[in-house]
């Protein structure tokens, strides 16, 4: 579903010189799997996910999503993904329903299906109370629900979520987590980045720890505990960050 092979991306920065934001990263994510990309600030999570969403071009390596190469058929890749990031804005002068219709039409979902799906999503996410109010009047929890609904409106097989809970309180973060688990049950392939270890443990089938652009380890939570010989999440995490690439 998602295949990433030796993917790299560097930036030419005026002050810092060449920054290797993502350096020789490889992993795969299967349908029905939640794959966590865990790393501290500046680790390269967003850069990696943006390459998969075809927003940034890789400097080396390859990646494919839903069988489509990100560089050769970017349009097909974008049709296959629901992309969401925590600091993504929403059109202030639109309503959640309008937003869903807009992005649905961009994915060329036909009007009848669009109407049915938007209705379903509004119901499932308990959005009926505010589906027709403009975003500038909504709380951040309401906005995040609408943002999720927007990412799912075209029924994409792949979800790419970049720290979707970063700005949320525990209640709203809980809603997002519930939804991601539901998407997994529906057989979607989910790539999820976070810097919160607990969240990764609760949600993810497999976790890749990334730091300074490089993957340190990949495995289930049990495997990570076994590798480090530590129990406390924070210590497992800190241990892995220091590790050299295997």
């Amino acid at each position: 579903m998602i295949e990433v092979a030796s993917l790299s991306r560097s930036f030419a920065d005026k002050k810092r010189g060449v920054v290797h934001a993502v350096n020789d990263v490889s992993f795969t994510v299967a349908p029905g799997e939640i794959f966590g990309l865990l790393g501290p600030n500046g680790a390269g999570k967003s850069t990696c996910l943006r390459m998969l969403a075809t927003l940034l071009a890789p400097t080396a390596g390859r990646a494919s999503v839903n069988g489509f190469d990100v560089q050769r058929s970017p349009a097909r890749v974008r049709e296959s993904i629901g992309f969401l990031s925590g600091d993504m804005g929403l059109y202030q002068r639109m309503t959640p329903r309008e937003l869903m219709l807009f992005f649905g039409r961009l994915s060329r979902v036909d009007e009848a299906t669009l109407k049915r799906r938007s209705g379903e999503l509004i119901e499932r996410l308990a959005m009926s109370g505010f589906a027709d109010s403009r975003f500038d009047k909504l709380s951040s929890g309401m906005r995040q629900k609408a943002a999720i609904a927007r990412a799912l409106i075209h029924n994409p097989p792949v979800l790419i979520f970049d720290e979707p809970t970063a700005t949320l309180d525990v209640v709203t973060a809980g809603i997002v987590e519930g939804f991601i688990l539901e998407a997994k049950r529906e057989g979607r392939c989910i790539l999820y980045s976070t810097h919160i270890m607990e969240e990764a443990e609760y949600l993810c089938d497999r976790i890749a720890v990334i730091n300074e652009g490089r993957l340190r380890t990949t495995g289930t939570m049990e495997e990570l505990r076994a590798v480090t010989g530590k129990q406390r999440l924070r210590e497992v995490f800190l241990d892995l960050l220091e590790r050299q690439v295997a």
């Binding site: 927003l55 071009a57 059109y91 002068r93 639109m94 994915s107 927007r150």
Partner: protein, 387 residues
């Protein structure tokens, strides 16, 4: 490029603009309300100052009431009331009298404060009275000498304007209109262009749009077209309200000017031609502003790039509208200038197909170049994703 996707984005952008109070005020409310109010205000002002000047223009300062018969007759003829003042200059300065008159032998001197309308009015009336008097005196002298009065006028000069009324109206209007329309285009499209590019990036809604199945070219084109819609709406609303308020208000007190304006028949053919001429210009203006604004880091930065553009556009727009400049095939390649020039020609009813076509396609080509640059900016990762 898929037309359906372009239309989906265009529709969203236009709805968004219509919901933005700032755009609405600039695009709809201001033109619809400001111009008629301005028209009424100006005409009231002109009327009032005219009345005031009339009321003040009644007195003339004289050194003494003992005057030569000539002077006395002239003052009487002008209908002014003579008031004795020792120091005429101070009296005029302090507005005790509107103007002054004094005689020194053969020399008659009119004292006037040229910055005051009332003072000018009095001086004009006195001068007319004096001129009439002078002519009468000459006629009397000639009659005494038995010379026929015809010697005073060996020939007569008359100036006849052969331009049609339409052309005259087009001349006056064209001089202003091309210039105004082009300025309106740029000023009307400015806020929307900034809002849809730098604004969208600042509000962080751009990333989701770029990650959607729409291609960059489709997104850029839709945004350019949305700017075109905004700038067309600004032009149409402003001009519409401008014409109506010009025609209906007493602003055009000057009967001659009103007649000229009133005689411009904006028939459907001319109107269609005007709108057609404007289209590639609007496209170019939209593409240019989207290209520049999308390069900016923030809303403010984009605005500070586009404001000088407005000044840059004024000169060719003004030159193109000036009477006397005429379009040649080479000149119709100069952007802005060619459009302003052609708008004038269309209004005067004397444009040539060759000029129309070169201007049309030149502007389409410029729009294409601007589109290319806007697209390049949208594809530039350093611009779109820099922090």
């Amino acid at each position: 490029m898929r037309l359906s996707l372009i239309l989906v984005i265009l529709r969203r952008e236009v709805i968004d603009l219509l919901r933005d109070r700032r755009t609405l005020i600039g695009m709809v409310v201001l033109p619809l309300v400001a111009f008629p109010l301005m028209g009424i205000g100006v005409s009231k002002f002109i009327e009032e100052t005219g009345k005031k000047n009339e009321a003040q223009a009644t007195t003339v300062g004289v050194k003494s009431l003992e005057m030569t018969p000539d002077l006395q007759a002239a003052i009487a003829r002008s209908g002014m009331r003579p008031i004795v003042e020792k120091d005429l200059r101070t009296a005029i300065e302090q507005k005790r009298v509107a103007a002054g008159i004094e005689q020194n032998g053969q020399q008659i001197r009119l004292l006037v404060d040229a910055t005051r309308a009332a003072s000018n009015l009095v001086a004009d009336r006195l001068r007319t009275a004096l001129a009439e008097l002078k002519e009468e005196r000459i006629r009397e002298s000639l009659a005494k000498l038995s010379v026929p009065a015809a010697v005073l006028q060996p020939f007569r000069v008359e100036r006849v304007n052969v331009a049609s009324e339409r052309k005259m109206g087009g001349f006056l209007l064209g001089t202003m209109l091309g210039y105004i329309v082009i300025l309106l285009m740029f000023s009307g499209g400015m806020h929307p262009a900034v809002d849809m590019t730098a604004g969208e990036r600042e509000r962080k809604t751009m990333e989701a749009l770029l990650a959607s199945p729409a291609s960059r070219a489709e997104i850029v084109l839709a945004k350019i077209l949305a700017t075109v819609v905004a700038l067309y709406a600004t032009v149409l609303l402003t001009l519409g309200s401008f014409f109506i308020s010009m025609k209906s208000s007493a602003m055009m007190n000057d009967a001659k000017f009103a007649a000229l304006l009133g005689n411009i028949s904006l028939d459907w053919g001319t109107l269609a031609l005007l709108l057609l001429t404007m289209f590639p210009v609007a496209l170019m203006a939209g593409a240019l502003m989207i290209a520049i604004a999308s390069f900016a880091r923030s809303f403010k930065e984009a605005q500070s790039y586009l404001t000088p553009l407005l000044l840059l556009v004024i000169l060719p727009a003004l030159l193109g509208g000036l009477p006397g400049t005429e379009l040649s095939p080479a000149l119709s390649l100069i952007p802005i200038f060619n459009a302003s020039q052609l708008l004038k020609a269309v209004l005067q009813g004397e444009f040539t197909m060759a000029n129309f076509l070169t201007t049309f396609f030149a502007n389409v080509a410029y729009a294409g170049i601007c589109f290319y640059f806007a697209l390049r900016t949208f594809k530039n990762e350093n611009v779109m994703f820099r922090s």
